[in-house]
Amino acid sequence: MNIEVSAIFQIAGIGIIVAMIHTVLKQMGKEDMAHWVTVIGFVVVLFMVVRLLNDLFREIRAIFLFQ
């Protein structure tokens, strides 16, 4: 339980920071860099979510396939 909550907070923190960097870069007229930052942040978060999903499916398989 503890690990999942901290992971959720981590993802939320990444989202907030990336949004702030995006705003700062966009305000200074560097839209292309702002978009790259957003894309990279999205990819990082995606990797974390994929790892959690991997745990979930492993758990499901362990429960229903009796390995």
Partner: protein, 172 residues
């Protein structure tokens, strides 16, 4: 405890990097302005004082602040050594040697090197014309540098802090 110390160190490092970048953006127009003042003094030395070039360069350099002072003093010293063939070679060598210590970019360097090509090898009105041309060039660069400072100084600071915070969150 160790984690907290590491996070604090990363935050401090990111913030310092951001502030150092911002300081570079702030230093560039200031140094260009100083360079323009120095060229004005050099113009006076050439037109009214009719000082020999090594002495004129040394006098101009003595009144300057630190990174720029070395350009003029070093050029004067190289001229006084009499090892190189032309004043242009001395000037170019001095500019190349000191340039990494300054916050200025290629445009200002180009203007200075072009000025060096005419220093000490033509008559007075011609040299004055070249000094004035370099000053006009530098003024244009200064306006561009001020614009860049206004745009990017604050961005660098906030980006340093935010990037450090991002790294800390990623590594928790």
């Amino acid at each position: 405890m160790v984690k907290l110390a590491g996070a604090l160190l990363i935050m401090a490092a990111g913030t310092l990097i951001g502030f150092a970048q911002a300081a570079r953006y702030a230093a560039r127009p200031r140094q260009i302005r100083e360079l323009i003042h120095a060229l004005k003094r050099l113009e006076t030395e050439i037109s009214y004082g009719q000082t020999p070039l090594p002495e004129a360069l040394a006098r101009v350099g003595a009144a300057l602040a630190d990174p720029l002072r070395h350009i003029f003093l070093r050029a004067a010293a190289r001229l006084a050594e009499r090892r190189e063939t032309t004043a242009e070679a001395c000037w170019t060598g001095a500019v190349e040697a000191v340039w990494p210590d300054t916050a200025m970019r290629a445009g200002e360097k180009e203007a200075l090197l072009r000025l060096g090509a005419s220093l000490g090898c033509s008559d007075r009105p011609d040299q004055l014309k070249h000094v004035r041309l370099a000053m006009v060039h530098l003024e244009a660069e200064e306006a561009a540098a001020r614009e860049e400072q206004r745009k990017y100084e604050r961005m660098c600071r906030s980006l340093g802090v935010l990037g450090a915070a991002l790294v800390v969150i990623l590594m928790v």
